[in-house]
């Protein structure tokens, strides 16, 4: 990984995607698109109860809204996630349901509805193979669903343990280990040693006593290798964690996550979203309308690598930045969503 020098880079705005009539909460890039001649696709979800599908026109290079998924959710759609194959889109809503959509002959149809949560579903995530789906809610629980034939989803387990609203769920990029973060200031790790037994347990709770956050943890993201994790919080810090995953992948039991470093002093408002690109750049979106990028620092300390801010894009949006996501594939773009109702596509460019 090349080490990037500060002050040599800028975030260039490629396009602003308008259309949603309320705040845009989140977005998801379809990882099966954007290569081999297939135009890149992304989905965004909003307080206007709809999900919009955007596609980049290969010739004009501009993004157009290809579809509006409406008349299904009866309240805000808070989160969306494409299945790894790119065929299905899961959308989580404040109406306590999670809908599964499939593109059938050019139209997106809702092929399944997952019910069970008592109130607002906050996040939805697919595991690496697309066999499992996780959802979390203000009802403090995390549900794991198994994708069955015919777009049927069966609830495998209901995980309780968080003391408050669960903000986000995220699967590890290579192993079937589930992570959840909450208003109760903790990150919980869930694992089923024997997947067929449906016996999911909380194998680790990362709280204040483990150098964890001192306020709501809003999001977390993994690096490409999956041996490091970054979390962001209302406590104005980003925390980097590491684990010996080779040990775990070789079947040697659970390997716990340890605190590596805390990035503080860079944010003065709540950090709502964080995403680690495959190239190793960490993007953060915060309540001060700014987007910041961080990279590992060349000046490694004795205790291990440290991180530094590569750039700060002030006024990236007119209001709170709710989500930041790097596109998959080579030469990634960064997409951000905001309370201002727009999605912005950015390109990281050298100023030299």
């Amino acid at each position: 990984m090349e080490f990037l020098e500060e002050a040599n880079y800028q975030l260039k705005e490629i396009q602003t995607l308008e259309g949603h009539t309320d705040r845009v909460w989140s977005l998801a890039w379809n990882s099966s698109t954007g290569r081999d001649g297939v135009p890149p696709l992304l989905a965004s979800c909003s307080g206007d109860k709809t999900v919009r599908i955007w596609e980049r026109n290969l010739s004009s290079r501009s993004w157009d809204c290809k579809a509006v998924l409406d008349e299904t959710h009866t309240r805000t759609v808070r989160s969306c996630a494409w299945s790894p194959s790119g065929k299905l889109l899961a959308t989580a809503s404040f109406d306590a349901t999670t809908a599964i959509w499939e593109n059938i002959g050019g139209d997106y149809e809702c092929v399944s509805t997952l019910e069970g949560h008592e109130n607002e579903v906050k996040s939805v995530a697919w595991n690496a193979s697309g066999s499992l789906l996780a959802t979390c809610s203000r009802d403090k629980s995390v549900w794991i669903w198994e994708a069955m034939p015919g777009n049927e989803f069966e609830c495998v387990s209901v995980l309780q343990g968080h003391a408050q609203d669960v903000k986000m769920v995220q699967w590890h990029p290579t192993m079937d280990v589930l992570f959840s973060c909450s208003y109760d200031n903790t990150i919980k790790v869930w694992w089923a040693e024997d997947v067929d037994s449906d016996n999911w347990q909380c194998v680790q709770t990362i709280g204040e006593s483990n150098n964890g956050h001192s306020s709501t943890v809003w999001a977390l993201s993994f690096n490409a290798e999956g041996d490091k994790m970054v979390s962001c919080s209302d406590d104005l810090t980003l925390k980097i964690w590491e684990a010996d995953i080779t040990r775990m992948q070789s079947g040697d039991g659970y390997a716990p996550w340890r605190h590596m470093c805390t990035l503080s002093g860079y944010h003065d408002r709540t950090i709502f979203s964080v995403h680690w690109s495959r190239e190793g750049i960490i993007a953060s979106g915060a309540a001060d309308d700014a987007v910041r990028l961080f990279v590992e620092s060349k000046d490694a300390l004795i205790d291990g690598p440290s991180y530094k801010m590569l750039l700060k894009k002030e006024k990236a949006h007119d209001m709170d930045v709710n989500s930041v996501q790097w596109s998959p594939g080579e030469r990634p773009l960064l997409a951000s969503t905001s309370d201002d109702g727009t999605i912005k596509i950015w390109e990281l460019a050298s100023t030299l």
Partner: protein, 143 residues
């Protein structure tokens, strides 16, 4: 003249006036205690009846659902997935396990919550709009 006897009777007279505070305290305490015992018992009886009824009704509801589902499974076992059937079995075990004759048992809260959760999962899996109305729902505060 029996000076000791006269001394004792003098002491007795003074004793009762000296212990006036203590006697009155004891009298009041006894009155309050007995009153509390009677009203407390009555109130506890009412609470016990109410809680007992609610618990019994909820347990009965789940038992009824389990019985219907089991009958359906006997008619056509293929219509219910293995997971759902396992869940129904687990619900049955929980109902069996509930200590109806031991209200002070620490696990009653845990078992009831596990039952409610299992019920929600099975209900979602079967796609039925079934709801236990007896259980009062806390007023949801929305932000």
């Amino acid at each position: 003249m029996d000076s000791q006897q006269s001394n004792n009777s003098v002491q007795d007279i003074f004793d009762s006036s000296l212990n006036l505070e203590e006697t009155h305290f004891k009298e009041g305490y006894d009155e309050g205690y007995n009153h509390g015992l009677t009203t407390g018992k009555e109130e506890a009886r009412q609470v016990g009846l109410k809680l007992g009824f609610e618990t019994g009704e909820e347990l009965g509801f789940y038992k009824g659902c389990v019985d219907v589902w089991n009958s359906a499974i006997r008619v056509d076992p293929t219509r219910f997935s293995t997971r759902v059937q396992k869940g129904i079995k687990q619900m049955e075990e929980l109902i069996e396990k509930y200590p109806v004759m031991d209200p002070e048992n620490e696990s009653i809260q845990e078992i009831m919550e596990a039952l409610r959760l299992k019920f929600r999962v099975i209900r979602a899996a079967l796609g039925v709009k079934l709801e236990y109305d007896g259980h009062p729902k806390p007023k949801d505060i929305e932000f």
